[in-house]
Symmetry: C2
Subunit: 322 residues, 2 copies
DNA sequence: ACACGCCCTGACAGCGTTGTCCGCCCCCTT
DNA sequence: AAGGGGGCGGACAACGCTGTCAGGGCGTGT
């Protein structure tokens, strides 16, 4: 910038004014400055600007894994909202590890992001307290923060959606509905299990429940165990997109009714089409990011807890008779 | 930091030394400083650090759309490599618009990212020249830069893979193989078309070629037109993952052999399984990012042009007889 | 013609950090 | 006991930018 000023024969501050489109610069001068800028290939140093002004125009996003379609969709929506607010997005995948989540959040804070959207992997967010006090805005998406922290949260209607799925299967005449979900430590998995159990009431049988990170072999074993029971399941409710896909593989053509939580591409092209309880990851991302920007714009209201609806999409697999 | 120094009763610089783990600080002093840091919830301001040191420990990634599984996979791989080098990742989606690509790249440069991995949407990268001269390292992935710029590039073997797919279909006895690809302005689409045409030789018939952004209705019309020909296609080669999925929907059960470029989840669960020429997006991301970091570590060799192999995965749809 | 005011420009400080350099003090050696 | 050296701590400037404030030149009104 100094070089530009020298080249254009003006003061540093005048160049700054031109670069920032501030008023009060003679058009001819501005033109000379712009010419110098082009000639020298000058580009403003945002780090210095940030240092001076205190706002980074950057938000952070911590998700579980960008390569998961659910989070990819959420990610894209957050990005779009950020762009609309002239912000950039720093993102990182926690890989479902609390430590990694914390590292990411702390790194983002050290870079003075204006705010963060977090899909928490850990259960303790005490480490966030100093950040929150320092004014960093945080919105939790998909899962709530650990106990003792009341913050903005955007969740899907997990238990409700699970209940919906189970009642749909019961409505088809199924009496034995299994649940295949992710590790119980994961909030969404636990909530969906709760919704499943509540909807089943007396019919609930823990032998029909398998909860662990989805892996084909393990799931196949779980399913075999269930099918070997006296009264085997005639329907399965899977707890998230990856569980659904893994289950479809593990079932290998066995004819069972199935409803999955989370929609996924090609669910309609399989035979039978896969009935799902669909969330809208893009909407979740958008809502979370918009809430974050409202906070950044000075909204100081009490923490909001938004619950997004889910919807059942019948495609065939959930309508199979027992 | 000043506050910490005051609180600990030491000089600013001493705190800096503690924070950076520099030697030459008495253990007791260091402990006092750390206590003050904890007490005050101090966190180093990276912006100031960047300003002073000149390195941001951040790299940029410009892709077409994070929500596309191909780019999501690539993205995750780049992120992993960045993390391994203690770098953060700024990412943005160009949405296949040259202007947006340029904006993203320029914004990243203004933030002084150390380097950028770009999946170019535009064809003219003259705007990058000043950045390159300023020392910003750029690696192109999936598509090469526009003419006149020789830079590090990581590409898949597009034409070769397309030829492979077509020869596979010809080997099953097909004489009429159609190509359904993305817009011809997209490098990968054009290359795959080239491979397709070269492999067909005399059998090439432009009436069996449809190239445009994949949308179900338009593609259905294109396919109907082809099937209405005197000698309709008995096999289809689709030019990328989205085209494959769109084509599967547009075909709606019509029995035609099909090989798609790009693998996708569930391709094995459809009936028949979808035969594909698979690239490895994670590998592309990893290779590109590692090349970038080699450059950042001072490798000044001539630009590299890496071509990644693809592999044919037969699953049934490509093995249907005419 | 003079005063006043407006428009434009520039000097300067400071954002929070780190690199350089200097000086103190203590301990060891002679 | 005096001199030298090393280990430790501190003062200062600079990174590139922007906010504040002051000042110069020129037009306008009386």
């Amino acid at each position: 910038m100094k070089d530009v000023a020298t080249a254009a024969g003006v003061a540093l501050k005048t160049v700054s004014r031109v670069v920032n489109g501030e008023p009060g610069v003679h058009p001819a001068t501005a033109e000379r400055v712009r010419a110098a800028i082009d000639r020298l290939g000058y580009r403003r140093n945002e780090s210095a600007r940030v240092l001076r002004r205190g706002r980074t125009a950057t938000i952070g996003l911590v998700i579980e894994d960008v390569a998961d379609p659910f989070y990819a969709g959420l990610s894209r929506a957050v990005e779009d909202v950020a762009i609309a607010h002239d912000c950039l997005l720093l993102s990182g995948s926690s890989g479902e590890e609390a430590g990694r989540e914390r590292e990411l959040v702390e790194t983002f804070c050290a870079r003075r992001v204006d705010g963060i959207v977090v899909v928490p992997a850990g259960a303790d967010h005490g480490y966030l307290r100093p950040e929150l006090e320092a004014g960093t805005k945080v919105v939790f998406a998909d899962r709530p923060p650990g106990a003792g922290l009341d913050a903005d949260t955007v969740l899907a209607d997990n238990a409700g959606g699970a209940g919906r799925a189970v009642r749909h299967l019961l409505g088809q005449g199924h009496e034995r509905v299994a649940f295949v979900g992710d590790a119980p430590a994961i909030y969404t998995a636990a909530e969906r299990h709760r919704g499943y159990r509540d909807a089943l009431g007396d019919r609930y049988d823990p032998r029909l429940v398998a909860m662990r990170p989805p892996a084909e072999e393990a799931m196949r074993a779980d399913l075999e165990r269930m099918f070997a029971l006296d009264r085997p399941p005639t329907a399965i409710f899977t707890g998230n997109g990856r569980c659904t896909v893994t289950a479809l593989r593990a079932l290998a053509g066995r004819k069972v009714a199935l409803v999955g939580f989370d929609d996924f591409e090609l669910a309609d092209l399989l035979r039978p089409g896969v009935t799902v309880v669909a969330q809208d990851p893009a909407r979740m991302g958008r809502v979370a990011a918009e809430l974050l920007f409202r906070r950044l714009c000075g909204d100081e209201g009490p923490p909001e807890h938004i619950r997004l609806p889910v919807r059942l999409i019948p495609r065939g697999s959930g309508e199979l008779a027992p």
